[in-house]
């Protein structure tokens, strides 16, 4: 399965929709659960408890009143608004293999979109770099999904990253409490990330952050003295192999800070390397929501 869902293999598939469907299906096989029920937040009615029903679905208040077990049934077609926010800055095009971080994030975004659409949730898409270059308000139609897929397919990363102002712009467009999924390499000042997330949470939105890094970013592969050129700023820096440990130390320090900060704000954070199977992110997401 992993071979089949290898990101590099997926990139060879023709359409983004196809990729998304395969990823999602793969993820679903992986967790052996249907995601299509029960994730909505809208209550529908009760039904009698049957053996095999999950205990957490028992409505204990009804049991207190009637001394009978009833389980809650939820509306399958929810109105959950999901905003997938994709980092489209130049640093996202970096890759040490064949699949760039942006492509990986695009596939993930497409898969999530496809998944949410299957759940009848409205999915919107925002791509930002220095400005908010793409914004598609949430919708549930098939044509909307096709449009999202087309946008993801055609987008190219460029420019520098400015997250705070773009998130503010995005939040100004959001009228309803939403789920906001950020896909980014987070190669921007930590304070900006924290501020942006804080702004999102402050409006009652739920936030999931997928921190996408290339393998060579996570573990530096430098065996000689080289000059590194920053894709965004074009600044050059002379680097020797002796700097590997200090780089990784700084990176892990940053990751630890994110984990700590986001945990305290009840924000889901997942570090993903582009070498990992794409469905891992979906499984993570589904598992998280299953807990809730």
């Amino acid at each position: 399965m992993h071979t089949y869902l290898d990101p590099a293999v997926l990139s060879k598939l023709k359409t983004m929709e196809l990729r998304a469907r395969i990823i999602v299906e793969g993820a679903l096989i992986g967790i052996h659960r249907s995601p299509y029920h029960g994730f909505s937040t809208e209550f529908k009615d009760h039904r009698n408890y049957q053996a095999g029903d999950e205990l957490k679905r028992i409505d204990w208040k009804v049991y207190a009143r009637s001394n009978k077990f009833y389980t809650k049934q939820f509306e399958e077609e929810s109105n959950l608004n999901v905003y997938i926010v994709l980092d489209g800055s130049a640093s996202m095009k970096y890759t040490s293999t064949t699949l760039s971080k942006f492509e990986y994030a695009s596939y993930l975004a497409a898969s999530l979109s496809w998944l949410f659409m299957k759940q009848k949730d409205a999915v919107g898409l925002a791509i930002f770099d220095e400005k908010l270059s793409v914004f598609q308000p949430p919708a549930t139609t098939k044509s909307h999904l096709a449009r999202l897929m087309k946008i993801l397919d055609e987008s190219k990363p460029s420019n520098n990253t400015k997250i705070v102002s773009n998130i503010d712009t995005l939040l100004a467009q959001i009228k309803k409490r939403s789920l906001i999924i950020i896909l980014s390499d987070l190669l921007i000042p930590t304070a900006d990330i924290v501020k942006a997330v804080k702004n999102i949470s402050a409006r009652g939105n739920e936030v999931i952050i997928f921190h996408i890094l290339d393998d060579s970013e996570y573990k530096l592969k430098i065996n000689e003295s080289i000059i590194l050129k920053d894709i965004e700023t074009e600044a050059e820096i002379s680097v020797t192999p002796t700097l590997k440990s200090s780089y990784e130390k700084e990176l892990n320090k940053c990751i630890d800070l994110y984990k700590k900060t986001f945990r305290s704000r009840n924000v889901d954070y997942l570090l993903i390397r582009t070498s990992e199977p794409l469905e891992n992110a979906l499984i993570y997401y589904l598992a998280k929501h299953k807990q809730k």
Partner: protein, 569 residues
């Protein structure tokens, strides 16, 4: 700064190598696109703003390390601050002043001067031994040294009082001990009266006692001499007087202060001649400064070539008329009795005296300007024996022996010499360590440490024994016959000195170039490698600072390592 091995400086061409490596490295470094350099900038090691200055600093350090190592191998030296001290070693520097000679006083003064490089006026170098030089030569040397590029211009001149006028930029150290500012300029004998013209060369008038010595009587007169002027005084002479001398009152022996005269009617004088029957003769007499112990012996070898016919006159003076011993033989009346001895030992009470030979074709070095030393410098030394370590002694003693020339044993500091002549039989003269030890004992005896008589064996063929104080006989066995030869009394001055081109203890044979048929043996029985000049070792007139450079290089290597490891430093 000088270099002992400047050839290593050739490697300075490697200095640009660090620069070239730097440039090459810079040119060939790969440029790679990377998503972000923010973590490098945040990391401590990635303070890349320091990169360029750090590179330049490392480059400078590495170049300096290379430079210091190369300079270190080139053996850099710093010249010591060295004062050239010109010491008058002319004969009259042996004038006594108290217990020391003024030459010794001069040596002491020289040693007080920091970084003194001693140059003797006789022209010998600092690592050679002083040689008696006529005072005129010293004068010439001192005044000419400034223009003589082959010699170093002195910073100090140590000389007798009033001997030399002060040179510009030269500190003159005057050793007191004599008064040569008065001279007897002329004598005239008429009607048994001796007229003496005495000159005062000083700027002060003075009173001097002039003494007349003859065999018959001694007369003294106090004479007032005006400054920079002369006066004439008169002495009566006995009718019997045939010769005599006049001396100006002086604390020192000074040839210039003594005038010898012969009364015209005086018959030919005779001098005792000792020596072998056929080829050589020895004329010996005591020569000592007035008032001192008789420790100076003048030994003159008159060869056949220097026929006695050439001796026109021998003048002598003795304070003790009863011990007047100078006899002259006519050329055809050479005594056939060998080993007739005339020596201070025969006249132990002699307090002063002088012997002058004129018209000799071979003069004793005391009177001769001929620089034998220079000729001997070409001599070739061969070590013929290694001394047994048991025989080594702490004092540094050098013994030299030659046919018909003084053999010398020397204590360090060159204060005491022992000289004796060996004759032609010394060609098969074998020196044994025991002989050297004997010589050492003699030196100790001279130094007053002990008075002993010694019998010793010189090899298998010769022996030397102490007969009495001040006189030694060398008994050599040659062709089955025992022959005694005089070992002259101690001599405190003069002698032929050579420098040994080796420092290894042992006995060395010298095949001399300078002296015909000479055979020298030099013995160093010190317990360590020592050169004869080690008493005043000024050969190293520099400070080797090689290690300074190596240490600097090492420190810079450490610094370079620290900078590489800890960029914040």
């Amino acid at each position: 700064m000088n270099f002992l091995t400047p050839n290593f400086l050739f490697w300075l061409f490697t200095l640009p190598i660090p620069f070239l490596i730097h440039l090459w490295h810079k040119k060939t470094t790969r440029r790679v696109l990377f998503s972000s350099t923010m973590f490098f900038r945040q990391s401590e090691q990635g303070k890349q703003s320091f990169k360029k200055p750090k590179d330049i600093l490392l480059l400078i350090l590495r170049t300096l390390i290379l430079l210091f190592i190369i300079l270190g191998f080139a053996n850099p030296t710093l010249n010591k601050k060295q004062n050239i001290v010109l010491l008058d070693d002319s004969y009259d520097m042996l004038t006594k002043n108290g217990k020391s000679t003024i030459f010794e006083l001069g040596l002491k003064e020289a040693h007080k001067i920091k970084g003194a490089k001693l140059v003797f006026a006789s022209g010998t170098k600092y690592n050679e031994y002083p040689k008696a030089t006529p005072s005129a030569k010293f004068q010439r040397f001192a005044f000419q040294s400034k223009t003589d590029t082959t010699r170093e211009y002195p910073d100090y001149i140590i000389t007798k009082l009033g001997k030399i006028s002060k040179l510009p930029n030269v500190k003159l150290i005057e050793i007191d001990g004599r008064d040569d500012n008065f001279s007897i300029d002329s004598l005239l004998i008429e009607n048994s009266k001796l007229f003496v013209k005495i000159t005062n060369h000083t700027s002060k008038s003075a009173e001097k006692i002039i003494t007349l010595f003859t065999k018959e009587t001694t007369l003294s007169a106090k004479v007032s001499i005006p400054a920079n002027s002369n006066t004439i005084t008169l002495f009566p002479l006995s009718e019997k007087a045939k010769y005599g001398s006049l001396q100006i009152e002086s604390d020192a022996l000074d040839i210039d202060n003594i005038k010898y005269f012969v009364v015209p009617s005086m018959p030919p004088l005779k001098v005792l001649i000792t020596g072998d029957t056929l080829n050589s003769f020895f004329i010996e007499n005591a020569l000592a400064p007035p008032g001192g112990n008789s420790k100076i012996t003048l030994s003159i070898n008159v060869t056949q070539a220097s026929s006695l016919k050439n001796i026109s006159s021998i003048l002598s003076n003795n304070a003790d008329a009863n011990n007047y011993d100078v006899i002259i033989f006519n050329g055809n009346s050479i005594p056939q009795t060998p080993h007739t001895i005339f020596a201070p030992s025969d006249a132990p009470t002699v307090k002063s005296g002088f012997l002058r030979l004129t018209n000799l074709t071979e003069m004793h070095p005391i009177f001769d300007d001929k620089d034998i030393l220079i000729e001997l410098k070409q001599a070739r030394f061969t070590r013929v024996a290694q001394l047994d370590s048991n025989l080594l002694r702490s004092s540094q003693i050098l013994a030299r022996f030659s046919n018909n020339s003084p053999a010398i044993v020397e204590l360090e500091n060159r204060n005491l010499w022992l000289a004796f002549p060996l004759n032609q039989f010394s060609d098969d003269f074998i020196i044994s360590p025991s002989f050297v030890l004997f010589m050492q004992r003699i030196v100790y005896w001279i130094a007053g440490k002990q008075i002993q008589k010694h019998n010793f064996i010189v090899g298998e063929k010769a022996s030397l024994k102490v007969e009495k104080s001040g006189t030694y006989l060398c008994n050599c066995i040659s062709d089955g016959q025992n022959k005694d030869y005089r070992l002259n009394s101690v001599i405190e001055s003069d002698g032929i000195y050579v420098s040994l081109p080796t420092e290894v203890p042992g006995i060395y044979e010298l095949q001399g170039v300078g002296v015909k048929d000479a055979m020298f043996f030099a013995v160093n029985i010190s317990n360590e490698f020592a050169s004869p000049s080690s008493a005043i070792d000024l050969s190293k007139n520099y400070v080797l600072i090689r290690n300074w450079f190596f240490w600097l290089a090492l420190i810079l290597m450490g610094l370079e390592m620290i900078i590489k490891t800890f960029p914040r430093v």
